[in-house]
């Protein structure tokens, strides 16, 4: 590639206090390429994104636009220069409609101010391109994480930028949406746009990208043509060592029923959902984005009220709409939206981990800081958390490490029924294996696990049984043997009812 890159970084470094997030990294983005950025959680990928988008100013090194050095004083400057970004965490305005979220600051105008009709049409057109069913007039509040991510994608596309940066755009998406996104990305690439793509799913990188740059601990490792390397090579570059097999679910004998959901209904959301999870079992709940899986989980855990049906834990009916009662019965829920539901961003790592189990760290009426810290430290080690100090607020952690804190918070409680909603969203390959091993161990020790996941390989690799939801109903139950990519997708898209 000998043409000048549209945007490049040269020897860029960035530190946050003592944490050197990015160290002398160089990166070129050429028109007509999809460039992958790979690295473990906390390797510095999002920091690079934020440098390219003007959010952070590098401590040293330069940003070059069309070969000329530039300084971005803020995101507005980067946008001016034709850089569009999908950030790792959705950045929507919950009170505004989806279409306004997409076009904020660039709303189509007519003589009488903002032209809502034109804006609606433009948004609808974008959704068609992405194959999304969203009402442009709907407020962004209440969108599922996946839908939020799709709005973010639409927003970035609408900018018709020269450079499109996508920080884990697929983390919350399932196969269908990913395929559509890749279609759009390919078109853009062919039109001469430069794309930067970040994902923890290796197969996606190999499918979409032309080159890949790897980071490890903030430092540049290598840039390779995708065609030249294998997934194993890439993992070795990222992790610096060999990895174990990915999905080590051990066979266990299912025990008695731990969680029994009977004809659960929440009007307008999901209908007549019945299933059981036994001790020692991992049951996956699969389906397309928006099928209502997370909603079922929330209702079981008592976040939302249900209109009909029942939930039993170890044979005892659960009081509706009380997370406290659910927790007392031994239930735990790792929610899908870590920023809103999983973590208190301003609180420290240790306090977040301690929050769900204050009873365990109490000495008399007082909280024992030592016990709290020990509990946090133990789990930080087990989950290979990358952090500076346990007293740091969680919002300085990288996305994947935040997810680990959420996991730690719930695992530390030692639940008997564990519901995990997208447990490995944004988690790197190495840790993902770790999480899977953990889930598998928990199951082996008699915990009943209900796992919601949009990643088919994860579902197929981990689950003893697969339940499939489609438009708010349970449409299929597949045993481990029956569950294949085809059968699950068929049920999830409503092509086959069981």
């Amino acid at each position: 590639m000998d043409q000048t890159p549209v945007l490049s970084l040269s020897q860029v470094s960035k530190a946050f206090g003592a944490v050197r997030a990015v160290r002398e990294v160089s990166l070129d983005l050429h028109p007509g390429e999809v460039h992958a950025l790979a690295g473990e959680n906390g390797a510095g990928k999002s920091t690079i994104v934020k440098i390219l988008s003007g959010v952070h100013r590098p401590d040293s090194g330069r940003i070059l636009l069309d070969g000329e050095p530039v300084e971005f004083a803020g995101p507005a400057d980067a946008q001016q220069a034709g850089v569009a970004v999908i950030y790792q965490e959705p950045t929507l305005f919950p009170d505004l409609s989806v279409m306004e979220n997409i076009f904020m600051g660039r709303q189509p105008r007519s003589r009488f101010g903002i032209d809502r009709r034109a804006m609606r049409a433009a948004a609808a057109e974008l959704f068609t391109r992405l194959g999304v069913r969203l009402d442009p007039d709907q407020p962004a509040r209440g969108l599922s994480i996946a839908d939020q991510q799709l709005v973010e994608i639409a927003k970035a596309l609408s900018r018709q930028a020269r450079v499109l940066i996508m920080d884990e755009p697929t983390a919350a998406l399932s196969g269908n949406e990913v395929a559509r996104l890749f279609g759009v990305a390919t078109t853009l690439r062919e039109q001469g746009c430069a794309l930067l793509f970040i994902s923890h799913r290796l197969e996606e990188m190999f499918e979409l990208c032309t080159r890949v740059t790897t980071l490890r601990d903030g430092a540049y490792v290598a840039t390779d043509l995708i065609a030249d390397i294998t997934p194993d090579d890439l993992v070795r570059r990222m992790v610096g060592r060999e990895l174990d097999a990915l999905f080590p679910k051990q066979e266990t004998d299912a025990g008695e029923v731990a969680l029994k959901v009977g004809r659960l209904t929440r009007e307008g959301v999901f209908t007549d959902v019945s299933f059981e999870v036994r001790r020692g079992e991992i049951v996956a709940l699969a389906g397309l984005v928006g099928a209502g899986r997370s909603e079922v989980a929330r209702a079981i855990f008592g976040i939302d009220r249900w209109d009909a049906g029942s939930v039993e834990v170890a044979g005892r009916r659960l009081r509706p709409a009380s997370p406290t009662a659910a927790m007392a019965a031994g239930l735990a829920l790792v929610p899908e939206d870590r920023r809103q539901q999983g973590l208190v961003m301003d609180l420290s790592i240790e306090r977040n981990i301690g929050l769900a189990g204050l009873a365990a760290v109490r000495r008399g009426p007082l909280v024992s800081r030592a016990a709290e810290r020990k509990r946090a430290a133990d789990w930080a080690v087990r989950l290979r958390l990358k952090y500076a100090r346990l007293a740091d607020p969680v919002n300085v952690l990288s996305g994947g490490n935040q997810q680990k804190v959420v996991l730690a918070k719930w695992l530390a409680r030692g639940p008997s029924v564990l519901i995990v909603d997208e447990p490995t969203r944004g988690i790197d390959v190495g840790t993902k294996a770790e999480v899977h091993r953990l889930l598998s161990e928990l199951a082996a020790s008699g915990v009943a696990v209900l796992m919601i996941s949009s990643e088919l390989p994860e579902v197929l690799g981990m689950a003893d049984r697969v339940l499939v939801m489609h438009e708010g109903r349970l449409v299929a139950e597949l045993s481990r043997a029956e569950a294949t990519e085809e059968s699950v997708m068929a049920a999830a898209t409503g092509r086959r009812a069981a």
Partner: protein, 357 residues
């Protein structure tokens, strides 16, 4: 999200249903209902409450607070608040009155412009403190609430400007009417319509909502957050300045204590009007209706021969009832909408607890 919308289908063609939803979802509905109830009941007990003269008085009474509520809405939408408005009103009212009293020759429009400017300057101080120096708005404006009032006191030094000291032409502004509608109410109405239009149809207006809805995302979206926040405070200050002149013209007697404590009335109007106190949603129309509702309650109590000592308590109770009614209606509508469809268009909150703040 609607059930029938398949990929790519545009959402036209179901206009009827949409309209019903829209009306049901209008945030201001609750206040309109509350107003109707109030006028109905009071009018039934004492029909003179609905007479032209009485309605005129109510409009006049609410004009100043409505104007302030419109300005306050601009600020509240951005997830800020301006407690100092009452002090700005006092400052502008006294300043304007003093200039008129001491220099009878000064043209009235110049005085009005001067007061608006004075208000804008005060607003700019708040705006810079909040927008540029990142002082939380409540702290900053609680501070300037004291500070501006202090300036006012120092300036007045115990002096009072009386109706006799001010030109007739100026005082007439406070009482004259155009086609039967009081001038002050007209001013408030024009301001309301202009600001309402700007908030809905200008990019800058929408950006205020964006800032309040998610300040961090607003920065990432390339919005000039600081500039917008300062602008909102300046506009609010200017409106407070205007309200100050209106105050002087209306009441005729002006000293340094003018409008003390009115900030809570203004915020109550805004909140009753359905403007979210944590930013991002609400309209100036709601705020103005809120102001109208609050002054109507006061007027109604005065007319209903309610025992004077009980007025305050009833006023508070009605205020709470109005907010509660509004909230219950909103919840009902939301629940009905969820049930009415297979897929939810918009649940008010994930579960109702999280909107408690």
């Amino acid at each position: 999200m609607t059930a029938t919308a398949t990929a790519g289908e545009t959402v036209r063609g179901r206009g009827g249903r949409r309209l019903v939803d829209r009306v049901a979802r209008v945030r201001e509905l609750g206040i309109v209902v509350a107003l109707a109830v109030l006028f109905g009941v009071t009018g039934a007990v004492n029909p003179s409450f609905l007479s032209y003269a009485s309605l005129r008085d109510i409009l006049l009474n609410s004009a100043i607070i409505a104007l302030l509520a419109v300005g306050q809405t601009l600020v509240v939408i951005t997830r800020n608040v301006d407690l100092s408005v009452s002090s700005v009103v006092g400052l502008a009212a006294f300043g304007g009155a003093l200039v008129l009293a001491d220099n009878p020759g000064v043209p009235i429009p110049v005085v009005i412009a001067g007061c608006v400017l004075l208000g804008a300057v005060c607003g700019a101080v708040n705006g810079l403190l909040v927008g540029a120096a990142k002082v939380p708005a409540l702290v900053a404006t609680l501070g300037t609430l004291y500070a501006f009032r202090g300036i006012d006191y120092a300036w007045a030094g115990g002096r009072q400007v009386n109706a006799a000291d001010m030109p007739e032409g100026f005082l007439a502004l406070g009482t004259s009417a155009v086609l039967g509608v009081p001038l002050l109410a007209l001013v408030a109405l024009v301001v309301l319509l202009v600001v309402g239009w700007m908030l809905r149809n200008l990019r800058s207006g929408r950006e205020l909502y964006a800032i309040g809805s998610n300040p961090e995302a607003a920065v990432l979206a390339g919005i000039r957050v600081r500039r917008r926040i300062v602008a909102a405070f300046v506009a609010n200050g200017a409106l407070a300045g205007l309200a100050g002149v209106m105050w002087a013209a209306r009441f005729g007697t002006v000293d340094a204590t003018v409008a003390t404590g009115k900030e809570l009335d203004v915020i109550a109007a805004v909140v009753v009007g359905g403007v979210a106190i944590f930013g991002g949603s609400g309209t100036v129309y709601g705020a103005a209706l809120g102001a109208l509702l609050l002054s109507s309650i006061t007027s109604a109590l005065a007319v209903l021969r309610v025992d004077a000592l009980a007025q305050m308590a009833i006023n508070g109770a009605l205020l709470i009832a109005a907010i509660a009614l509004d909230r219950v209606l909103a919840l009902r509508v939301a629940a009905a909408l969820r049930r009415a469809k297979e897929r939810p268009p918009n649940r008010i909150t994930p579960s109702d607890h999280s909107e408690a703040r």
